[in-house]
């Protein structure tokens, strides 16, 4: 039992359990909070994988911005009586769960069948340097400058679109 396995079990366990809780709670605020916990444990897993920048970006972007937006909207709308919507259509739920279970088994089978650990060939020690801000920044502003600019335009368009959609219409 190395430290890495212990950390993986703890963080991965939290991620798995919270992802189940997110989709089973009737109250959206509780779901949102457990989703935050899920994102935080994912950030821990990224640190374990030496992806420091992505880990911090995960906390800043997901936990700090996106989920606060979710909470904000939920609190603004105050959707009532979730229980009624929640308990409808048990048949659909059972079928969906079966389908999902089959897909999951399929993926697990594929993972073991192809055994990706044989095909990952890179130097593991190189990943320590690959995850730093410097490495990511260098790559982002040289080889990937066009997608980077495109992402910037996407965010601008999204900001304008959100404004147009959410603006109250005064008649």
């Amino acid at each position: 039992m190395s430290l890495e396995i212990i950390l993986f079990v703890i963080l991965g366990g939290v991620a798995a359990v919270t992802s189940v809780i997110v989709i089973t709670r009737p109250n959206p605020i509780i779901s949102a909070l457990f989703l935050v916990l899920n994102f935080a444990s994912l950030a821990g897993l990224y640190l374990l994988l030496n992806a420091q920048f992505i880990a911090v970006a995960q906390v800043i972007v997901y936990a700090g911005a996106i989920m606060v937006l979710f909470l904000f909207v939920i609190m603004l709308l105050r959707p009532g009586n979730e229980e009624k919507i929640f308990s409808r259509n048990p048949v659909v739920k059972i079928i969906a769960s079966i389908v999902a279970g089959v897909v999951f088994l399929q993926i697990v089978y594929m993972i073991f069948f192809t055994s990706p650990s044989n095909s990952v060939t890179g130097e593991v020690s190189a990943s320590v340097n690959a995850g730093t801000v410097e490495a990511i920044g260098r790559e982002l502003f040289t080889n990937y400058i066009l997608p980077f600019e495109a992402a910037g335009f996407l965010l601008l368009a999204a900001a304008i679109g959100a404004l147009v959609l959410a603006k109250k219409k005064f008649e």
């Binding site: 911090v56 606060v68 609190m75």
Partner: protein, 345 residues
């Protein structure tokens, strides 16, 4: 150093920093009350001990002994969780802020920062972005309309000002070429403080820091005349004390951060004390004193502003954040970039 030595030294550092924080927080509350009294021509607390210096302890005991009232409508668990988040965020942020240079202690080289992370500034930004949750959840879980309004206001306000805060930090990072707080302090040198080089960024950061800590003139989440007590209306006893401590701890962290980023950290302006030929431990002591002196001055500024400037209206706050501070922060980045291009700083 072996792993165990690192663990022990880190624990000692955490303990020291924690004690300093708690003491500073309690005396900050005392000074806030004395300074407000002074501003308003009153006396302020002066009964407990000499000139009231034991007042913080009396406050803590009072809050400990009070009954903890949880409202009927509240979501009990989240109601108790919110102050814990507030305290956690407030105290963990301090881990990356250097209060002095590294020094040699017998055979060990000790740096005066709990965790010398190479992306310390991003860590601070990440944790401050989590601070929103405490207030938002406190507002929602109380089950009271005043708390909810305070919570909604705070989430909108803190997200808005986080952006100009992040962009102001961008200018500093451009100059220092590092995200490590120690490297940022050292890159400022003796007199080239970022506050002189990029005054616009300094001002936007200062204003954003006021907004992030919910201090007047931006304390809309708890505006007393409109919202009773805002997000902490329904809190009492130690839970209220949690929010109270977190607010003052946040002030301390903001001022420490401002010092690190813009005011040269622990360095003394114009005087290079390494050339004076002083003993090593004395130099370190001077550096630490300089840091705490700057911190005291900034904290006084925080208190001074609170008792001088009236509260903003909510739409004014949003306009200021998005239409003034955000463009100014962007302008600051361009200014720094031009400086780097022209003067090769």
């Amino acid at each position: 150093m072996s792993t165990w030595e690192i663990v022990i030294f880190t624990l000692i550092k955490i303990l020291v920093i924690f004690t300093i924080m708690m003491l500073t927080v309690s005396y900050l509350v005392y000074f806030e009350r004395r300074i407000s009294a002074w501003t308003q021509n009153r006396l302020g607390p002066n009964r407990v001990g000499w000139e009231g210096v034991l007042q913080p302890f009396a406050d803590v005991f009072k809050l400990l002994l009070k009954e903890d009232i949880v409202p009927e409508q509240a979501e009990k668990k989240i109601h108790s969780l919110a102050p814990v988040i507030a305290l956690f965020v407030a105290f963990t942020t301090y881990a990356v802020i250097p209060i002095g240079p590294s020094f040699n202690f017998f055979d060990y080289n000790i740096s005066l920062v709990v965790a010398d992370v190479n992306m310390g500034i991003l860590y601070v930004l990440a944790l401050t972005s989590l601070g929103v949750y405490a207030i938002t959840l406190a507002g929602w879980s109380s089950g009271s309309k005043y708390s909810l309004l305070g919570g909604i206001r705070s989430s909108a306000q803190m997200i808005s000002y986080e952006i100009s805060m992040g962009f102001s930090v961008g200018g500093v990072i451009l100059l220092s070429e590092s995200l490590r707080p120690i490297a940022i302090v050292e890159s400022q040198g003796l007199w080239m403080w970022n506050a002189w080089i990029q005054p616009i960024g300094f001002i936007t950061f200062l204003v954003s820091a006021f907004a992030e800590t919910n201090r007047l003139p931006f304390d809309l989440p708890e505006a007393e005349p409109e919202l009773v007590g805002g997000f902490h209306t329904e809190y009492s006893s130690m839970k209220f004390a949690g929010f109270f401590l977190a607010e003052y701890a946040n002030m301390i962290i903001s001022s420490a951060l401002i010092i690190t980023l813009y005011l040269g950290g622990y360095q003394i302006p114009f005087i290079d004390i390494t050339t004076l030929g002083l003993a090593h431990w004395f130099e370190v002591l001077i550096y630490i004193t300089a840091f705490f002196f700057k911190m005291g001055a900034l904290l006084f500024f925080f208190l001074w502003v609170r008792w001088t400037i009236p509260r903003f209206r909510y739409d004014q706050l949003m306009n200021l954040g998005w239409k003034v501070m955000f463009p100014l922060a962007l302008l600051n980045i361009i200014w720094v970039a031009v400086l780097i291009m022209v003067f090769n700083l």
